[in-house]
Symmetry: C2
Subunit: 345 residues, 2 copies
DNA sequence: TATTAGCACTCTATATGAGCGAGTGCTAAC
DNA sequence: GTTAGCACTCGCTCATATAGAGTGCTAATA
């Protein structure tokens, strides 16, 4: 559909705008050596590109700016991966040099470095807690009628909840229950725990029947772990450095968005592998309509999938970010697997 | 030093500016019925007040604005407590109606309501974890050479850290150690734990001597709990609604401050009781020079002190905020004590 | 003597218009 | 098919004019 020259002009226009944040005009383009055409020729092609929806004008006599469709086309067809310099790769690898034992630590540091290398805001989604498996369960009584339930998962993560205990239960009842769980429910996914808990305990603790339901109810309620992803940011304020957000209204709505993403359902599609790019309104959120989010998934072992993302203006440096995320997600998969499955596994 | 009329004018000026955010002029003031003087008279007094440093002009022919010294005087001498309406008190009490068992929950909800009632940003400092006491200690092995240490405190809080175990230690070594701690170190403050740990275990686990130091070292490092206060916000973005922050630079530095307060040492003086007001530069931080922070302490039992605070523009409604914080801190002291010491204690 | 009216002055905010520059679209020439 | 040329449009900047709010000072007033 597009002529070669139009392709060239679209690409150079997007590249230039990404770099300068200024609408790009025909004269300016014709000065570049990659574009050996006169301004008039360029104008004609730009007019065509505008008609087809790839470019836009901010006002009648301004230069052109890529439209969302333009970015989409650029991203889908013109993304030549950029080489990441050795020093940058070294910087990424440095995350894993000091032996760290906690995934959270690794994730935090990754977020920081990613943001430093891109000058955009980075987001790391913590692993979905519900996919972890029970390794050890225990209950510690607090007062006469309340206790805290503690679950250690295979990944070393610890979840804890306070719940209330009906009066008729004694310490030894509780102990029996804990033993039961440790015998039978190790290896169960956290999100399955409440259901299984009921099945297992009902069969055995029958004698306390009347009150058992109360206990189970209260415990299940406490143990029901919402799908509340933990979100780590790196360079949260970086976005505000971009000229497109020099406006308090926009700044606020973005900040607000960031503080509340984890409460918004389905903003990240964790189930998709590889690198995804969502541009402007593709993010399905008003606050994000001037932003693009590039997400890369990494996996740990076989099933657990985590995500890292960079959020920047639609005018972000896609080439570079995609390449960086690629390196980073590979390294993360490798290193987190090591941590979780031990140096020998 | 100040004549009665000057006092009146200062007060009315501050009140008016708090309300309107506009510099207040003499003519405007003379229209109010509390001020039965002509503009000329008011001008004279205002000029005096300016000379003494209580008022400022934004430019030569503008109205006056309270200076930091002016606010300070106002706050120290003119703060008549405001009556809190019954419906508002009811709203505050609603926090404690549904029986909540976790202090964190209570604190979160308090933050939200406080911000809603004031239209400013609220900050709740979580209790200083280091002052909690050990209730139960346990260690769960993760891999061959790492394990997670879990401490439940008397308040129901759970701390956990991953640490590494030298190879020569067996499961039963670890078990002995855990038992030892649960026998001897229950009731110890969290911040004293590392020191005491060493004293207790050295005496008993002597046989494993060479490696014990490694284990203790790694465990102590993990258990050393920094003074890192947990900070909960309510209405984090409220501040950006204030006209004085309609500027991305300021907005950013405030957001940044909020995200990093807990890493800045000594910004809250937890040891002081009662209500404190810090105005502008009294906060000792550039980002806060247009803000005031009003802090109220509450206590739980006898020694633990927590803080709630409201952060708003220096032009904030001191009367109202002070009164609200007063009610809130009282209620919090009462209710949190109940939770922590149980319904019968 | 303390207060007030009056007046000249200052500064901001807002609107208006001119001039410049960058850019466009169209047409005619190459 | 490409380019040169030209008229036109729009935004930006700068200067100027004007209105309005407020001040400081002086002289009149109670």
């Amino acid at each position: 559909m597009l002529t070669n020259r139009q392709l060239l002009i679209l690409q150079v226009t997007v590249d230039d705008f990404i770099e300068t944040a200024q609408p790009v005009g025909s004269r300016q383009l014709s000065k570049k050596e990659e574009v050996p055409f006169s301004p008039a020729t360029i104008r004609n092609d730009m007019a065509d590109l505008e008609e087809m929806g790839y470019l836009e004008k901010t006002h009648t006599s301004s230069g052109r700016v890529p439209s969302q469709k333009g970015y989409r086309y650029y991203v889908d067809n013109m993304l030549t991966p950029q080489r990441i310099s050795k020093s940058e790769i070294k910087q990424i690898r440095s995350i894993f040099e000091e032996r760290m034992v906690e995934t959270e630590q690794v994730i935090r540091k990754s977020a920081a470095i990613l943001s430093e290398l891109t000058n955009y805001t980075s987001i790391m989604l913590g692993l979905d807690v519900r996919k972890h498996r029970v390794k050890r369960f225990s209950i510690v009584p607090l007062t006469d009628d309340s206790a805290v339930a503690i679950i250690v998962t295979d990944s070393g993560h610890v979840e804890n909840r306070v719940f209330s205990i009906p009066e008729s239960f004694t310490a030894s009842d509780i102990e029996r229950m804990v033993n039961l769980i440790n015998e039978r429910l190790v290896g169960v996914h956290l999100h399955e725990l409440p259901a299984k808990l009921e099945a297992v305990t009902l069969a055995v603790l029958r004698q306390n029947n009347g009150r058992l339901n109360d206990l189970l109810g209260s415990l299940n309620k406490a143990l029901t772990i919402e799908h509340e992803d933990k979100v780590y940011y790196g360079g949260k304020m970086q976005l505000l450095n971009q000229p497109e957000f020099n406006d308090v209204e926009k700044a606020r709505s973005i900040m607000y968005w960031m503080d509340h993403v984890n409460q918004m359902p389905g903003l990240f599609h964790l189930d998709q592998k590889g690198i995804q790019i969502r541009i402007g309104t593709e993010n399905n959120h008003l606050a994000m309509e001037d932003c693009s989010i590039i997400t890369a998934s990494y996996d740990i072992g076989e099933e657990q999938i985590g995500s890292i993302a960079i959020i920047g203006p639609t005018r972000m440096d896609y080439k570079r970010v995609v390449s960086l995320l690629d390196v980073m997600s590979g390294d993360l998969s490798r290193e987190l697997s090591k941590i979780l499955h031990g140096p020998h596994g």
